[in-house]
C-alpha cells in the first residue's frame, strides 16, 4: 500500500500512538516518540502569528509509518530582508525499527523540502548521526555551533560529569583531581585566564515578565550585526518566551536605566550525561556587539545565584563567542549542528564571510520546550 504524507489531524492520533508504541517497544528508547496530539502544544498555528509549528504524518492505510514537524518562522538575512524559513524537526520513521520502511526517512525529508525549500535543522546530536548524514546527502550545508561551558562548582563537576567519566582511568583521575583540589585549581585558572580577554562594563539586570517596545528597538538596532538570524522582534519574543512559561527566566540588561540587551536563562532537565548536576543554560541573548559581554555576565550571575553547578550555551556569532570567552566560559566539543538546505545556503552567500556572523543559539529550532 502506498505511503502518503499529509498534515497530522485528530483522526491520526490513535495511529500515532500505535506508531510510538512500536518504536519504543523495538528500540527501548523512551525519547523515540512523536506528539500524541495533532495540535502542537508549543507554538500552535494561530491567525497572524509569525511563528508556529505544524506536524505531518506518513500514512500507509490505517497505519502511521513516520512523522515530522516544521517550525515556521521568519529569518532576517542582512541585505536581503526577511524570509519565511522552516525548521525540520522530530523526523521519525518506522525504518528505525523495520528495514522494510527504509524509504520513509527519504520521503519525510523530501516532503519537508518540497513544502519549504528554505529549510534548516538544528542539533541532531552531531554531524555523524543519521539525520545529519541524510541532510548532507540532500545537499544541506552543515555548520557546527560552538559549545561553551563554565564550571561553577568544580568538585561536583569532576564527580558528576558522566559524559567525561566514561573511561575508567579518566573517572579515576577526575576523582583524584576532586579530592586533592587540583581539579578546582585547574578549572578556576583556565576560566580566569579566559576572562583576561575582556571585561564587561557597568550594567544592571532585572528579571522581566515579558518583552515590549524596548526589545523591538534592540532588535532593530542590532540586527545589522548578524548575517542571518531568526527574527527576535518583540512580538516573536512574546510568543517564544510566553509570560506564563516558568521554566525560563527573562532578563533585561540595562545601563543608565536604558535597555542594552536581554537574555533567556533556563535550567536543563535531568540528563544522564550531567549526572546529578544542576545545569543552567544561557538559552538565548541579544544585544549590540559592544554590550554582549555585559549580557553574558548578567545571565551568568543570575544562574550562579540560582545555585547551578554548570552553565552551558551554544553560540555561533563571533561576537557572542568572544563575549562568552571573556566571561570565563571554555569551549567544548559540540554536537549541536546547524544544517541549511541548498536554497537557505544560497541566501547565506558568501558563506565563508557570513558563517561566523550567523546568530544561532539553543533557543532556535525545536529544543526549547523539550530541554527546559
Amino acid at each position: 500500500m502506498a505511503i502518503v504524507i499529509e498534515p497530522y489531524r485528530p483522526e491520526h492520533e490513535p495511529a500515532v500512538q500505535e506508531f510510538n508504541r512500536r518504536l519504543q517497544q523495538s528500540s527501548g528508547d523512551p525519547d523515540l516518540v512523536f506528539s500524541q496530539r495533532s495540535v502542537p502544544r508549543w507554538l500552535p498555528p494561530a491567525d497572524d502569528s509569525p511563528v508556529w509549528n505544524e506536524f505531518f504524518v506518513a500514512v500507509e492505510g490505517s497505519s502511521v509509518r513516520g512523522a515530522y514537524g516544521l517550525k515556521q518562522e521568519m529569518f532576517f538575512v542582512r541585505g536581503k530582508g526577511s524570509h519565511r524559513v522552516a525548521c525540520y524537526h522530530h523526523p521519525l520513521s518506522e525504518g528505525i525499527i523495520d528495514r522494510r520502511y527504509a524509504s520513509v526517512g527519504v520521503l519525510l525529508a523530501r516532503d519537508a523540502l518540497a513544502r519549504q525549500p528554505l529549510l534548516y535543522a538544528l542539533g541532531m546530536g552531531g554531524a555523524d548521526r543519521p539525520i545529519a548524514r541524510m541532510l548532507k546527502v540532500l545537499g544541506f550545508c552543515l555548520i557546527p555551533i560552538p559549545f561553551y561551558f563554565r564550571v561553577v562548582r568544580p568538585y561536583k563537576f569532576l564527580l558528576e560529569m558522566q559524559a567525561l567519566r566514561q573511561a575508567r582511568w579518566r573517572a579515576l583521575l577526575m576523582n583524584i583531581a576532586a579530592a586533592t583540589g587540583t581539579g578546582w585549581l585547574a578549572i578556576k585558572s583556565a576560566q580566569a585566564l579566559s576572562m583576561l580577554r575582556g571585561r564587561a562594563g557597568d550594567f544592571a539586570a532585572e528579571e522581566i515578565p515579558g518583552f515590549s517596545d524596548w526589545a523591538e528597538d534592540l532588535w532593530n538596532q542590532a540586527n545589522g550585526n548578524v548575517s542571518m538570524a531568526a527574527v527576535r522582534d518583540a512580538k516573536t519574543l512574546r510568543l517564544l518566551y510566553r509570560a506564563d512559561v516558568t521554566s525560563i527566566k527573562r532578563l533585561r540588561v540595562n545601563r543608565n536605566n536604558a535597555a542594552i540587551g536581554w537574555a533567556i536563562n533556563g535550567q536543563r532537565r535531568k540528563d544522564p550525561k550531567y549526572g546529578e548536576m544542576r545545569v543552567g543554560s544561557i538559552v538565548d541573548c541579544w544585544a549590540a556587539p559592544e554590550n554582549a559581554a555585559e549580557v553574558v555576565q548578567a545571565a551568568t550571575q543570575a544562574l550562579e545565584k540560582e545555585g547551578v553547578d554548570l552553565i552551558v550555551s551554544n553560540q555561533s556569532h563571533h561576537m557572542w563567542c568572544r563575549a562568552f570567552e571573556s566571561g570565563g566560559f571554555l569551549k567544548g566539543p559540540s554536537t549541536f549542528v546547524f544544517a541549511a538546505s541548498k536554497k537557505l545556503t544560497e541566501l547565506l552567500q558568501p558563506l565563508e564571510e557570513n558563517r561566523t556572523s550567523l546568530h544561532i543559539t539553543r533557543a532556535d529550532g525545536d529544543g526549547l520546550p523539550a530541554n527546559f
Partner: protein
C-alpha cells in the same frame, strides 16, 4: 526486466552498500543488505536520478523495496521517457 539496467543498478548498489556485486540479486532488499539503511536509500535514489536522468516521485521511491523492484521501476521510466 532489462538486463543492462539491472546490471547497472547492481553495480551501483554494490558500491553504495559496500557488498560484492555477485551478492546483489533481484531480491536484495533493506532487510537482507546490512548497510541498506535510510541514508543509503537516499543515496541510491540520488544516484539513480543522476545516472539515468530521472526524477523519482515519493510513490516511486516507496516502490523501491528490492533491487529487482528498483530495476523494474527504472526500466519502466526509461521506456516511458521520450528519446
Amino acid at each position: 526486466m532489462n538486463p543492462a539496467v539491472f546490471d547497472q543498478i547492481r553495480m551501483m548498489a554494490s558500491d553504495l552498500f559496500d557488498v560484492p556485486v555477485d551478492r546483489i540479486t533481484a531480491s536484495s532488499s533493506p532487510e537482507t543488505v546490512e548497510n541498506w539503511d535510510s541514508v543509503q536509500h537516499l543515496n541510491l535514489v540520488l544516484a539513480l536520478e543522476e545516472k539515468f536522468g530521472l526524477q523519482l516521485s515519493p510513490e516511486e521511491i516507496e516502490q523501491m523495496k528490492s533491487i529487482g523492484d528498483t530495476a523494474k521501476l527504472v526500466d519502466s521510466k526509461l521506456q516511458a521517457t521520450p528519446r
